[in-house]
Amino acid sequence: MGLIWVIATLVPLAAFVVQILFGSVLKRANAYIATGAIGFSFFLSTMGMLWYASFKPGVLSPPGHHAHHEEVVEGAGAAGHADHSHDGEAGEATDHGHEDAGHDSEADHGPVNPVAFEGSISWATLIRGEDTLSKVLRENPALGDLIGPEDLREEGPGVVSVGYRIDNITALMFFMVTLIATCIHVYSMGYMDHEPRYGRFFAYLSLFCFSMLALVVSNNFFQVFMCWELVGLCSYFLIGFYYEKKSASCAANKAFITNRIGDVGFIVGLMVLFSTFGTFSFSEIFTPEGMLNPELAAKADTFWLTVAGIGIFVGCVGKSAQFPLHVWLPDAMEGPTPVSALIHAATMVAAGVYLIARSFPLFTPEALLVITYIGGITLFVAATIAIVATDIKKALAYSTVSQLGYMVMVLGIGGWIAGLMHLITHAFFKALLFLCSGSVIHGTGTQEMPQMGGLYKKMPKTALTMLVGVLCISGFPLTSGFYSKDAIIAQVLAYGESNPEHTFILLLPGISAGITAFYMFRLWFMTFVGTPRDKHVHDHAHESGDLMTVPLVILACCAFLAAGVPWLGLPIPSLESFIGFGQPAAADSGQFAGLTARAHELHGVASVVASGCALLGTVLAVAIYWKGYLSPSEAQRQFPRVYDLLINKWYFDEIYRYLAVRPAMAFGRMVAWFDKNVIDGALDGSADLTVRGSNFEGRFDLGIVDGMVNWIGSTFFETGVSLKRVQTGWLRGYVVTIALGAVALVALGAFLYTP
């Protein structure tokens, strides 16, 4: 069954290959190929998700549930082999013995545990001896005494494999990604209509879809890392899509390099996993119920485990634009708006959160604390900056950073379900918001909110759908954002009860919820209501075409309904419960024991707090930007320091420029100088010295050695001159002389010879 997802992952890749190879021929057909591919993926993932959900214990009891259960869950070997047979049909060589570790004794464990399909092929085979040795042993058992058990399996990973692992989180993420991506593809066909590199855009989108989907389905950290970099690459290409603009290429570079810094952390995490656990595989590192594999945990030092956790989290920090590395995301808005929606709001930046959720059991309490604090700082800092942002997309970007901070933080305090739920809902409404802003930009030709205003009449569909998004993100009741934010606040409250020493950081989500509502409504009011501030822009403005508005409507529905409790009475689980089945045991044990239950109890309080904060923010926004009771410029004058800090984004860029970029460049120049002057200088100096030495010796040679030789030579020459008269130059005379000499010799011999 995993084949569905494998195919759904590979289809965009195939589309990418086709587009890159034949892009110049296909021209506009590129868009159809890309959209068709991702649409097909969406179709497959929907099918897969329905199928997956259909036999989930406790949700529904589909016919043949037990059979499925047996096939997939029980008997590790059976599950593995069933999968392999699928893979074999797909023509992939499977690596047995590598993924079977995690499926023991599943049936006895409650319904919480995810049913995971797994399959993998070897990607890089470094050691093959293992198999051979065991095979030899199997054939010659007598050798066992000689070889000894410790030789049987050398410590460490011999194979890097790529594969898939489907559990409900994967299925859900997959569904979300393909759905949003499909909408955005359709939207892009309208939005990018006049672009010169139309085809290439879709090729990049396809590549991104592939990378993102492969990231989501992957069954080991190594593959995650590879896809991690690949999505970063696509992000780079798409941010730098308008590469003629210097700012775009700079933003692309910034995004990529910042991500790489995070990736180094990820690599460090990988290194620790590699050297302490000797495996990257999820199913080997984690037990099926979602704890760290005790066998491996016994091998690992807590310090290194923390390092691993923080390392992986640093990767997430880079990708999800968390506090120290968040600077790239606002700059990334240089890319086309659909890209911002897809990559920099809904999917790629959420991958960090996904990874934290995925590797949740790995984190030690210390690491989780770091996560919490980073998330908390991020959500607040970004929210404050968003207040003063005037660029519509940048405001949304900071909002994204802030919302990601929510997710990270709540994951750090054990709110696994809340974090993921917010991830899903946020993906929908943030994609919606970005697309709406894109529609506005498309219609007006500007991104600056001060130039907009009063656009509601001109583009009602956009305004309404965007209002849905704003309501969602602000957490108004009955919207999806309400449920997810409510879950977060409840988790925070529950955590705060048991860990009062972290109260400070726990206050931030509540405050920021208000700020969020404030800046989102500010954005909406500045854009759509009031009087037009720029006549030219206003006259020019127009509603976008159907290609763009239909996705908006679809997304608005999704955003509104995503977390709806009964889901319109359909026989499918609610978002929360669906995610809840995948919750790892680690999120509900140890320091988090009972936290989930307590959070449930606190839902009521939390919803009051959340909606209260949101209401406050909203009211403030209404007062300032709609009704005009308060003047924003007045506030600026009142708090100039604060305003400077915020408008300069807390001076992060400057700090980095002076602390990192310039020193690095200076160090580079120094190294180059060192190379040229010190190393090469020493070399050239020694060469010079050799030359001087040779010159000296040359003089010695000429004077003394040659002098003696010349003297000897001249002496011989004199002798030769006196002897030369013997040579008569008469050739035949020489012959006669030789003959005479021969005769004389023989005669002499005859005379002397006595036998």
């Binding site: 070897s122 990607w123 890089a124 085979t125 470094l126 050691i127 093959r128 001896g129 051979t132 095979k135 050398e154 410590e155 460490g156 990973p157 011999g158 890097v160 890392f225 590879m226 896809c227 970099e229 690949l230 690459l233 780079y236 730098g240 590469y243 003629e244 210097k246 290429s249 700079c250 692309a252 570079n253 990529f256 390099i257 790489r260 810094i261 990736d263 180094v264 690599i267 460090v268 990988l270 290194m271 620790v272 590699f274 050297s275 000797g278 690095a664 460049m665 160090f667 580079g668 120049r669 120094m670 190294v671 180059a672 100088w673 190379d675 190393i679 090469d680 070399l683 060469a687």
Partner: protein
């Protein structure tokens, strides 16, 4: 029998071609160039044939028998008909014991195939050579023979000869067809390498006179070197001294900081195809020498000096990357990036004291993979730099810009190659880098982490370069013709390979890694026995 012919032909076909170039028939430049191309293609074809033969050696366990096994079987006259080992007594088998002794395993074969490929592409890239074409072609082909010889020889003496044989054509190729400072660069290159060669010579003689019976047989020397116990012919002290000599000799070629300064000069001055060869193949000889000679023959030295060597590797990575960041000259930047990339090779090889064959295989196989990948990507980079140099006649990074719009195909190909150099997953640079870094961490956390920071720097300078050269817009080079079909064909195999190897490294590792594993197991066994001795003594 066929293997004898095949190996000999691979070795001497280019030289034969060079000799044929002396015939009066090749009176025009075109003929010479075509002949050179045909010759290199034929050699490359033969290397592929060799690869096929190699894969056919697979026994019932699914492995190609290790080289040492095959070589010793050949020595006993027990060899299979096509075991890809050639042993013919050469110089007075009784007195000097020097043999015409060739053989391949996965390690050398991968480099041989790479050499064949890069030579073909280099020959194709040489079509723009105008000066003394015939001489160029002759030297080029001789160079190929030298390179092939280095990778094929299993006799140290033969190895040394080819090492030096390769040197002279290179000297002339840089010194005659190079840029404005070509004499300086050529002499620098020559002296550096010769210096290393002399150290190697000393080590070679040391091995020879300390082995009993005296031998130049590398396989035999490996066995001698890996003998442990109090009466081992190569004492630990001897091994350490020899290791230092060999290491410096090979590190110069690699090149590792601080022996690297010949490389930027040589690259900047060398003509494009020679830069390709230089980066694509010549640097690999250093790594190959370490893997084939220095480490297996002097494992004790390798253990003793593991930390310094790893430090050199890490320093090379960081130092090269920083130096690259500061360059204005496109070619120099690529040259320093080579220093940085080859640092991973040093690091990967150095991590011997892990003592776990599995983990050390990551380092060693990573180093091998990195060599191949670097051979592909850096050759491509130099070629692409050459392409733009031919059009713009300068290499100043700050004066380019906007080439992506002006030359779209060229831009696209460049992006692939440069990103492959950057070590992006899905392209060939990634597996080698990540494997070595992982193994480096296992050896010492600091090594791994610092080396990992090289990733950022690499991304920094490459992206910055890409931005300065390809992105943006530029009126100055408006109307520059895009890359020609011929040039595209030249670089396309590299692009294709960098993608292929990045997407599925098993294509290479599948037949290379088993031999790496054999080597690694020998070395770690040696190391374990050492530690056993130490623990026993305690």
């Amino acid at each position: 029998m066929i293997d004898t012919v095949l190996l000999t032909l691979i070795l001497f076909l280019p030289a034969l071609g060079a000799a044929m170039l002396a015939l009066p028939f090749f009176d025009s430049d075109e003929k010479s160039k075509h002949w050179m191309l045909i010759n290199t293609i034929a050699t490359f074809g033969l290397t592929l044939l060799l690869l096929g033969d190699f894969l056919e050696l697979t026994n019932e366990q699914g492995f190609v028998p290790p080289l040492s096994e095959r070589a010793l079987a050949t020595a006993d006259g027990q060899n299979a008909p096509n075991d890809l080992v050639v042993r013919v007594p050469w110089i007075s088998s009784s007195a000097f014991n020097i043999e015409y002794y060739l053989g391949v395993d996965g390690i050398s074969l991968s480099l041989i195939v790479l050499t064949g490929l890069i030579s073909v592409l280099g020959a194709a890239a040489s079509f723009s050579v105008k000066k003394f074409t015939r001489g160029y072609c002759i030297l080029f082909l001789l160079l190929e023979t030298g390179m092939m010889g280095v990778f094929l020889s299993l006799d140290f003496f033969l190895f040394y000869i080819f090492w030096e044989v390769m040197l002279l054509p290179m000297y002339f190729l840089i010194g005659i067809w190079g840029g404005p400072r070509r004499e300086y660069a050529a002499i620098k290159f020559f002296l550096y390498t010769l210096f290393g060669g002399v150290l190697m010579l000393i080590a070679m003689l040391g091995f020879y006179f300390n082995s009993d019976p005296n031998t130049f047989d590398i396989i035999r020397l490996q066995q001698i070197g890996q003998t442990t116990g109090p009466d081992a012919p190569f004492s630990p002290f001897f091994q350490r001294v020899m290791f230092v000599l060999l290491f410096i000799g090979f590190a110069i070629k690699l090149p590792a900081v601080p022996f690297h300064t010949w490389l930027p000069d040589a690259h900047v001055e060398a003509p494009t195809p020679i830069s390709m060869i230089l980066a694509g193949v010549l640097l690999k000889m250093g790594g190959y020498g370490l893997i084939r000679i220095a480490y297996p023959i002097c494992p004790d030295g390798a253990y003793f000096f593991a930390v310094p060597v790893a430090v050199i590797g890490v320093v090379s990575i960081i130092y090269g990357a920083f130096a690259a960041m500061a360059q204005q000259d496109f070619k120099k930047l690529v040259a320093y990036s080579s220093v940085s990339h080859m640092g991973y090779v040093t690091l990967g090889i150095a991590v011997l004291p892990i003592l776990s064959p599995v983990y050390y295989t990551w380092g060693m196989a990573g180093a091998m993979f990195q060599m191949i990948a670097h051979g592909i990507s850096s050759a491509g980079m130099f070629f692409l730099v050459g392409v733009i140099y031919e059009r713009a006649h300068h290499r100043d990074l700050n004066r380019f810009g906007g080439l992506m719009n002006i030359m779209p195909v060229y831009g696209a190909l460049s992006i692939v190659i440069f990103f492959a150099g950057m070590g992006l997953p899905g392209l060939c640079g990634f597996p080698g880098e990540i494997f070595t870094v992982l193994a480096g961490f296992k050896f010492g956390a600091a090594f791994g982490i610092i080396a990992a920071f090289g990733v950022i720097l690499t991304a920094g300078y490459i992206l910055w370069t890409v931005q300065r050269v390809y992105l943006g817009s530029n009126k100055q080079y408006e109307g520059t013709p895009d890359i020609t079909t011929w040039e595209t064909l030249t670089v396309l195999p590299l692009v294709f390979l960098s993608i292929l190897l990045g997407v599925y490294p098993d294509l290479l590792l599948g037949w290379m890694a088993p031999d790496v594993e054999v080597l690694v197991r020998d070395l770690t066994d040696y190391g374990r026995s050492l530690t056993d001795v130490v623990t026993a003594a305690k």
